[in-house]
Amino acid sequence: MHYQPIIGLEVHVQLQTQTKIFCGCSTAFNPDQPNVQTCPVCLGLPGALPVLNGTALRLAIKTAMALNCQIAKFTKWDRKQYFYPDLPKGYQISQYDLPFSFDGQVELITNAETGESRPIRIIRAHLEEDAGKNVHDETGRGRDSMVDLNRAGTPLVEIVSHPDLRSAAEARQMLEELHALLTYLEVSDCNMQEGSLRCDANVNLHITKDDGTVVATPIVEIKNLNSFRFTEQAVEYEIARQWKAFQETGKTIKDAPKSTRGFDPDRGVTTIMREKEEAADYRYFPDPDLVPVTVTDEQLAAIRSEMCEAPAVMRKRFQSEYQLSAYDASVIIDQGRLLAEYFEATAKLCGDGKQAANWVTQDVLRVMKERKETIANFPLRPEVLGSLIARVTQKQLTIKSAREVFADLLTAEEDQTPAPSMAQIDEIVAAKGLAIVQDDGAMETAIAAVIDKNPKAVADFQAGKQAAVGALIGQVMKQLKGADAQAVREKILTKLSGG
């Protein structure tokens, strides 16, 4: 008997509009001042009416295009009706039977080393308004719960995938892929702490019995997962729990309806929220306060022209265009669009993608991490780094010297504005004598001088102590910082063995 996890995600993404989806209130995250970003519309006051924010629809369409979805030419708004204190109108304006987009897919990397991928199908993506936030008394003194409606009316895209994911790791991977995609597009900041990206996971198991028959376990929806790690942990736990439950009870999807569970990150377990999905009847119907939206081909073309390259496409291109490994390409892409653009500019300028990738993924990322800086604030611009790397590839500087220059440029930066320039590279190289010495005459002279001054080392070497040559090389290198140590070694050996 063995099992296969079957997982689908419903991902909620807050769009980064300045104002809410149906009124002019700010969408800024502002938990410390509850209910200040509100008006009659998002408070659901009597007589107030919603008006669609065109930017929200534009960003939503951009999102759907990135998910390779079909975009509906005609879309409408429906009311999803239920009572909850964070829902001031008693209904949420959402989309029911005619979502603005459907039938898409996302390429999920299933092997980071090889870059192998598999399409995960998207059923639909629709636009809706976010609810407010209930704030409960956590002191245990049973004080009143409060409602903060700052968030109410923030535009939200809900992306629903087919149950095409097969492991907790894939569920996490999918969420990461969406995170990368949506931040690249600048449709959402995807800040998970602030709730800009959150997801529900639908999980069950297909179990192949020893006689070859296949049964499915009851479907469980895990609600409100707000980090990559929790998503993976929750799904992992749920898979194990369902497997154990099946072995104990033998219950299948036919014996129990879909249930809803929540994830407790402190204990790492999922707990039951609603035993059976009480056939929730939301009584959806078209919102008579809003007019349906028709999208023209011209509008779609205009939105398409604003699209930047998707990270999955960029990842593939970096591999073919700059000969990066799948792994390096992923490391760069996963750091976000600005870093990918930084890498590409650097690679173009130095003419060596692999070297550029090494520098960006090792040196640049290390310094960013040390200084807790984003790439936008990183002092070395791509032209400076590109120029530095070019000197290495053109054998004007050793890697070691280049690292020294890199460090010096960054140190110098600390007490000077403007950002380090290419001219500074030359200054540091000259001041420290780091240029690679290709002048044989200069090397000959230096070697001769060192041999003259170190008769003991020469004698030791000739007595068979190979290690003695190291001291000689060291002294030559001290004089000629840019010299190639290998060449110096060879020349000394030739000279001492009778040359």
Binding site: P40, P46, G47, A48, L49, Q81, G90, Y91, R283, P288
Partner: protein, 487 residues
């Protein structure tokens, strides 16, 4: 002589010319309210000081030589369904007993900008559901022509106030006839504009796809002025139509040449009182006498209007009224130990029986399993009703008929018979379903002395034609000069 004795249009022209001051007009009307409203019970809230302050400001503005707005200080009574910033706005419901909106409805902003004087809020059936004011949580309004009878509804107070000359004009809202029906029963002019002509922003919603704000007046002229003041596009209402507003008042007195009037046989069927039919047919003869071409038209689906309306309106209402949950504002129960109990008790305590009936009706019609056979089917019939009108208006300019099947009924007569009450709107509902404009103009009295209304309907955005047609009739008759004995 009180300025209340002037017809609204005459008073408005005198205010415009400066012959009468806003303070004088407002004072006379406030006095009339003091004198008569004890018997009529049209107003829920009158703020004398605020009204007089507005009038004083306007007169000062005029004396400084500054231009004054279209309303020129004309006092207006406002149905309690329209939000007025800082003023009690209850929608006739206990639910909103202590609610004061933090904002003005679009039409209130427009009225302020046009220099109208706001007299106060008038009584109505709770959440505009009803045809008699008997569903108001606060009081029953009486018909000034016979205090034992209803003024109609749901804009009961706005109609009765104008009929009793306690306001020259007023605003109401019409979802299934809530302006035209009480106008007919009170012997005054009442108009429902095209859906989308007037912004609904700040109009407390009953049925969003049917609701429309419109004027009441003692005559057609002031109704035209009031409509001109409140109509126009509002970007805060997505269903408000962006079309220029004609100057209704400047073309009003030009008769329509070659007017083609349609008479729908379905509006003269069983259930129509003979005395009403007689008065309406006589009114149509007046148009014949003015050279109009009168022909029969057919509205075959109008027999389904009440059934269609009582699926669509309650469905929307059940949703629109979910916001009244006791959480953020409005009535909250004192006695609840859980969230669900709080919802149920707050709503149970504060909504009246008719509101509950319609919420249940709508909730049922929208439930899964019933949605297609009720709500979706009703939308389909609604489209057929609209198509009937499209066809008819390809042939005629105006459709004429009765407003109501009977004159004003006794208070209490139908309060135990919701279906009988629903039938009071049988001739007015189809205009809401089709989204077309309609006007009720006085066209006579029953032998018992109760007013009778003539309803004129026109194609969408033909308000100008409708008002001119109404005015043609008004000039030929003297019904608008009649006043109830009380006033």
């Amino acid at each position: 002589m009180s300025l209340c004795d002037l017809s609204a249009g005459t008073l408005w022209r005198k205010l415009q010319s400066g012959e009468v001051t806003a303070v004088a007009a407002t004072t006379d009307y406030l006095n009339a309210i003091t004198q008569f409203d004890g018997q009529v019970a049209a107003f829920l809230h009158v703020d004398r000081d605020t009204a007089l302050a507005q009038a004083t400001n306007l007169d000062a503005k005029r004396s400084r030589g500054e231009p004054v707005g279209l309303m020129a200080g004309l006092p207006v009574a406002i149905k309690d369904v329209l939000c007025i910033k800082g003023e009690p706005t209850t929608c006739g419901s206990k639910m909103l007993q202590n609610f004061r909106p933090p904002y003005d409805a679009h039409v209130i902003e427009k009225l302020r900008a046009a220099d109208a004087v706001l007299l106060g809020h008038t009584n109505m059936d709770e959440f505009a559901m009803g045809s008699s004011s008997e569903n108001s949580a606060y009081q029953v309004t009486h018909n000034p022509w016979d205090l034992s009878r209803t003024p109609g509804g749901s804009s009961s107070g706005s109609a009765a106030a104008v009929a009793a000359r306690m306001a020259p004009v007023s605003l109401g809202s019409d979802t299934g006839g809530s302006i035209r029906q009480p106008a007919g029963l009170c012997g005054i002019v009442g108009m429902k504009p095209t859906y989308g002509r007037v912004s609904r922003y700040g109009l407390i919603a009953y049925a969003s796809s049917l609701d429309q704000v419109g004027p009441f007046s003692t005559d057609v002229t002031a109704a035209a002025a009031l409509l001109e003041a409140i109509a126009g596009h509002d970007p805060r209402d997505s269903t408000s139509v962006n079309q220029p507003v004609p100057s209704y008042t400047s073309t009003l007195d030009q008769p329509l040449q070659g007017l083609k009037i349609g008479v729908a046989k379905e509006f003269f069927a069983e259930g129509l009182d003979a005395e009403i039919e007689q008065a309406v047919r006589t009114a149509i003869d007046v148009y014949r006498g003015l050279g109009a071409d009168v022909r029969e038209v057919s509205l075959p689906h109008s027999k389904y209007s009440i059934a269609t309306y009582y699926l669509i309106a309650p469905s929307e209402a059940s949703s629109n009224l979910s916001r009244y949950d006791g959480v953020h504002y409005g009535h909250r129960t004192e006695s609840a130990t859980s969230l669900n109990e709080m919802y149920a008790a707050s709503r149970g305590e504060a909504f009246g029986p008719e509101v509950k009936r319609r919420i249940m009706l709508g909730t049922y019609a929208l439930s899964s399993g019933y949605y297609d056979q009720y709500y979706v089917k009703a939308l389909r019939v609604r489209r057929l009703i609209r198509e009937d009108f499209d066809k008819a208006f390809a042939d005629v300019d105006i459709i004429a008929g009765p407003v109501t099947p009977t004159a004003a009924f006794k208070i209490g007569e139908k309060s135990d018979n919701p279906l009988g009450m629903y039938l009071a709107d049988v001739y007015t509902i189809s205009a809401n379903l089709a989204g077309i404009p309609g006007i009720s103009v006085p066209c006579g009295f029953t032998p018992a002395g109760l007013p009778i209304g003539l309803q004129l309907l026109a194609a969408p955005f033909q308000e100008e034609r409708l008002l001119r047609a109404a005015r043609m009739y008004e000039r030929e008759t003297d019904w608008v000069t009649r006043k109830p004995a009380l006033a």
